[in-house]
């Protein structure tokens, strides 16, 4: 089953409430995916600074900071539950190589705006553990997982991020991910898990690195990704949704002058401001809808 949610704020006055909105959305989708949960938050970028979201199996933040600062000057480490947000000016190519030498750290996302958190457990507990309510930002995407395709682990949890400031959540399953994984890996896209969604995320990263727009990439994906899906994909500039041609996997969109919200079911957005006067519609199959700067 799985639950997917996304919110893009058009009106900045709501930015400080982004985490609160997403918390309500994730909580009401907990029944669709009680195995694990995760979310990606996009907030304003600091010039020449990168944030690396890292899942850590140790709680020794100080030690990790010390170890990393041997390689990197000017590093800030913040710990939230079992995740660390590492802020540094070091560019991804170099820093990711450094992280690879630390087995206790696994990178879940990076970029100038994005922060990703994911964890095994009931979504209601997961959002509490990460204090999602306190986050602010411009847009956010979340997922509650009912595992079908791969194991219930943090590696198997969404959102998946295979490129700078990119993320993807998925409701459904892909059938041709093994072939696609091999061909993307040959092109140099790093896919770490055996999960189908990570392959789709890699497919999008590949399209974006070929200078295609997110919309173009998702449209191409309709021909090349075989299976059932509703995808919500996020980038630095905004978010997009696409459903496969059969459209078995649900999605509903509510749009007001202040925000756009997407969810698997309407009940996930019943708590949003003025939602009853929003334009509410279901995305048509095989069509890409996107919002952004």
């Amino acid at each position: 089953m799985c639950g997917i949610v996304g919110i893009y704020l058009k009106n900045k006055k709501y930015n400080s409430q982004l985490g609160k909105f997403l918390t309500g959305m994730m909580n009401s989708m907990a029944t669709r995916g009680p195995d694990s949960a995760g979310f990606a938050i996009y907030s304003s970028e600091k010039k020449k600074k990168y944030k690396y979201s890292v899942c850590s199996n140790t709680d020794q933040v100080k030690e990790i900071s010390k170890k990393l600062s041997k390689h990197v000057k000017d590093i800030k480490v913040k710990s939230i539950s079992d995740h660390l947000i590492i802020e540094t000016a070091l560019k991804p190519k170099k820093f990711i190589e450094i992280l690879k030498n630390h087995e206790e750290l696994s990178l879940v996302g990076y970029g100038s705006c994005i922060q990703i958190f994911k964890q095994v457990g009931n979504p209601k507990d997961v959002v509490k553990n990460f204090s999602l309510e306190k986050f602010s930002g411009s847009h956010a995407i979340g997922h509650t997982r009912m595992a079908t395709e791969s194991a219930i682990t943090t590696d198997g949890s969404h959102p998946y991020s295979t490129g700078e400031d990119e993320c993807l959540v998925h409701n459904g399953s892909l059938s041709n991910h093994n072939n696609l994984r091999r061909s993307l890996q040959k092109k140099g896209i790093e896919i770490k898990s055996m999960n189908d969604t990570e392959v789709a995320a890699g497919y999008i990263s590949n399209g974006l690195s070929d200078k295609k727009s997110l919309k173009e990439t998702l449209l191409d994906g309709l021909k090349e990704l075989d299976g059932f899906y509703t995808f919500i994909s996020g980038t630095k500039n905004g978010m997009a949704i696409v459903r496969d041609e059969i459209a078995c996997k649900p999605a509903v969109i509510a749009e007001t002058k202040d925000y756009v919200a997407i969810a698997s079911e309407f009940q996930a957005m019943a708590h949003l401001p003025n939602v009853n006067s929003a334009k509410i519609f279901e995305p048509e199959p095989g069509k890409v809808y996107s919002w952004g700067k």
């Binding site: 649900p250 309407f266 009853n276």
Partner: protein, 227 residues
């Protein structure tokens, strides 16, 4: 009687509506704050009127018998699924599989529905004032589906003996579905359905009728290699 889903549990509200004291005069009910909850007004069996103020989730008014249910909002997947009798009137849009497998009663949708409207319908009358999505009336067995707008791909795929009346464009027909000539009897059926939904009867002339070509009823020996 007012029922507030913010104050009372869904189970309590449904139980109240499902166990009406037939001697009492309480026949009119209002539900506020549905907030997309599932199975609101499922399994009602008495001649009562219920108005839901807001948007509902899946299977709203499922298995309805006798009750008249009005939704001032949108409904999720499977509104009035397996309805036996009564009326369900949705003032907004409906999601997938509206009126699925329903045996009787009337479902009126003022807006659009998404895919598979009237899937496997078994006697219900569905009137959609807007458009319907792909695979509508899939394997429809009996009853009538009236569409005032357009239909998506594969309309009436593998249809049995249900009728489809449509005013707008059909993107494509499904297997074994074909246009039929409307006779007096069909026109009378359409007239009464339009009347039920307060649509001007003079519109009849703008509708086309579709039904089963009945070519899938028996094995065609030419296709034997396909099996």
């Amino acid at each position: 009687m007012n029922l507030n889903l913010k104050k009372e549990s869904l189970r309590k509200v449904n139980e109240t509506l499902q166990s009406i004291d037939r001697k009492s005069n309480k026949k009119i009910f209002k539900i506020s704050n549905p907030d997309g909850n599932h199975a609101i007004c499922a399994g009602l069996k008495d001649e009562i009127e219920v108005t839901i103020d807001g948007h509902t989730g899946y299977y709203c008014a499922g298995m309805n018998m006798n009750a008249n249910i009005i939704v001032n909002g949108n409904v999720g997947t499977g509104v009035a699924e397996n309805m036996m009798s009564g009326t369900v009137h949705v003032k907004g849009n409906a999601s997938q599989s509206a009126g699925a497998t329903a045996h009787g009663g009337t479902l009126i949708i003022d807006g659009d529905t998404s895919s598979r409207c009237g899937i496997s319908m078994k006697g219900i009358d569905i009137i959609v004032k807007g458009s319907v999505g792909h695979m509508s009336a899939f394997m429809a067995q009996s009853g009538n589906l009236v569409i005032c707008g357009d239909a998506g791909d594969a309309l009436g795929d593998s249809i049995y003996e249900a009728n489809i009346f449509i005013k707008g464009k059909v993107k494509s027909l499904g297997a074994d579905c074909e246009e039929k000539k409307m006779n007096k009897k069909d026109q009378n059926i359409l007239r009464s359905l339009l009347k039920k939904a307060s649509i001007n009867e003079s519109e009849i002339k703008n509708f086309k009728m579709y039904g089963s070509a009945r070519k899938l009823y028996n094995l065609n020996i030419d296709n034997v290699s396909e099996y």
